[in-house]
């Protein structure tokens, strides 16, 4: 990104200083843009079909085995409440149980009657477990192929080194702290600074691309008995099949948190301009100081 496209020649001819110009740059290569949106679509649908699969056995364990009867660290269930004489949804995390009727465990169908189901219908993809698995595995392939294209292009074009790797200066505690304060005060880079990702943004993207997403893939593969036949050490990496399932779930939640923050940041820092840059590539950079 940040390849100058066109200076405002008219303004230049009028003798204004370069800093006062509105400048349009090519922010994102076509591969970054295309793979980004394919990835966003895949991850959204993977999350939804994954929730439908989880709904078939909404309890998570640690170790190799886990089934109803083995202590789970998190579960969604339903129970009949004698006091109110109605079915309630219970979500339990460790020793803490919450009544989540209407959201998790027990919901209401269109005519208002309670139904036992782990997640609301709108959150899930696939009418049954079989079709949810169809979706999930097809999307996983699409995601992996798309991600491979992004990674190859990122390394070969120098995008990762140039745009995502923080410089040593950026990694100084002082710099990171100032960046953090700028974020909290919702102050965004202008001029030259707006052409590059800031250091927190870089670290967030690097974590997603090189930690969270690979963990998603490998923990998912560890649940496959054919993959662990070829690579039994994967059980040792994660601490067992059920641990891999737990880590798959936690990593998915961390990704969800990233996406929420990511979208909020885009909305707060010039949504139109940034979205245009991620769709068409073009990004307008304003003057260094507000006029």
């Amino acid at each position: 990104m940040a390849a100058n496209r066109a200076l405002d020649l008219e303004a230049f001819a009028a003798g204004k200083t370069a800093q006062a110009q509105r400048e349009v740059i090519d922010r994102h290569s076509v591969i970054v843009r295309a793979t980004h949106w394919i990835n966003a679509l895949c991850l959204t649908l993977l999350l939804m079909s994954g929730l439908r699969i989880l709904a078939a056995h909404p309890a998570l364990y640690w170790g190799n085995y886990g089934y109803y009867g083995v202590p789970s660290w998190i579960s969604i269930s339903d129970t009949f409440d004698d006091v109110t004489a109605r079915e309630i949804g219970v979500t339990r995390v460790g020793d803490y149980s919450f009544d989540t009727t209407g959201i998790l465990g027990v919901g209401y169908n269109s005519d208002g009657r309670p139904v036992v189901r782990a997640f609301p219908r709108w959150m899930t993809l696939g009418a049954g477990l079989g079709i949810a698995r169809d979706w999930h595995f097809f999307l996983a392939w699409a995601f992996v192929i798309n991600g491979t294209v992004y990674l190859l292009a990122g390394f070969l074009s120098g995008h990762f080194r140039r745009d995502l790797a923080p410089s040593t200066g950026e990694l100084r505690a002082q710099h990171i702290l100032r960046d953090l304060l700028d974020h909290l005060r919702l102050r965004h880079g202008r001029g030259e600074a707006a052409k590059r990702y800031n250091v927190l943004q870089k670290l967030a993207y690097l974590t997603v691309v090189f930690v969270l997403l690979p963990v998603m893939v490998v923990s998912g593969l560890t649940m496959s008995p054919a993959v662990t036949a070829a690579f039994p050490f994967l059980f040792d990496v994660f601490g067992g099949r059920q641990s891999a399932r737990t880590i798959h779930f936690i990593a998915a939640n961390l990704l969800l948190i990233f996406v929420l923050v990511h979208v909020i940041e885009v909305l707060l820092s010039g949504a139109f301009n940034l979205m245009r840059s991620m769709i068409t590539g073009r990004y307008a950079v304003g003057p260094e100081e507000p006029a």
Binding site: N64, Y65, L129, F137
Partner: protein, 253 residues
């Protein structure tokens, strides 16, 4: 491969098949265009994993201390009908395992005869498509041994397991695997579990262990193994009770 069969079947199967699948437990319309994407996904999974497994590695085997305290039965836990009940209450004296189809010697073995064949014992993890898993010890005969006794004909490509349990819709359970899995050393026909005879809830007297695949491939209550070239003529043509109802035939993940 089964994928080709699937599509042809879907194209020619007509309304009856379409409706059958539509009203299946999945509410799935199998002739929807999206099915082509799913079939493509299954194609990648099957061939990708077969590439990884070309050297036929063994799945991890555990020690007796790793066996899970319990092992939830799934699917049928007690087949309906008097025939099975009578068999089960007489120690399966009248049960026979028939191996036929594309074989040179049709076999019919009693449980006693079957148990005299060389046994293999393995402690492995069972992974259900719902997400849970359990570890158990299985004792049985390698399927490859039985197939060598019967002598497969060169056209044989799949083995269909015909089971004694009827599902809620009245269909008998069946499953199928190809020769790649059939000849894997850990693919066994198990009559023992955790040091005892296989319990009824787990498929007595005989069930399949096909360790590199998910739970529903491990057919229980087996009475007959048929060697075939194509899976089209069984059930709805997708190679198994659950595959007919929207689950993938290849369940390596």
């Amino acid at each position: 491969m089964s994928l080709r069969i699937t599509r042809r079947r879907v194209l020619t199967g007509g309304t009856a098949l379409g409706m059958g699948l539509l009203t299946g437990c999945d509410g799935r319309a199998s002739d929807a265009p999206i099915q082509r994407l799913f079939d493509f996904g299954q194609f990648l999974s099957l061939h990708g994993q077969r590439l990884l497994l070309s050297a036929q590695p063994l799945v991890r085997e555990y020690s007796p201390a790793d066996i899970s305290p319990d092992f939830p039965p799934n699917g049928t836990e007690m087949p309906d009908g008097e025939d099975y009940f009578r068999m089960a209450t007489s120690e399966f004296a009248s049960w026979r395992l028939v191996i036929d189809g594309l074989v040179r010697n049709r076999l019919s073995l009693s449980l006693g005869e079957f148990k005299k064949l060389p046994a293999r014992t393995q402690i492995t993890m069972h992974s259900c498509d719902e997400g849970w898993s359990a570890i158990g010890q299985w004792k049985g005969v390698q399927l490859s041994h039985v197939l060598r006794m019967a002598g497969l004909m060169p056209q044989a490509r799949y083995l269909v397991f015909h089971c004694l349990d009827q599902m809620d819709d009245g269909e008998f359970y069946y499953e199928s695997i190809d020769l790649f899995d059939a000849f894997h050393p850990q693919t066994i026909l198990a009559y023992g579990m955790n040091g005892h005879d296989l319990p009824v809830a787990h498929g007595a007297p005989l069930r399949l262990r096909v360790e590199r695949q998910i739970g529903y491939k491990h057919a229980k209550y087996i009475a007959r193994i048929e060697a075939v070239e194509k899976l089209e003529r069984f059930g709805l043509g997708r190679g198994g009770y659950w595959p007919d109802r929207g689950y993938q035939w290849y369940a390596g993940l």
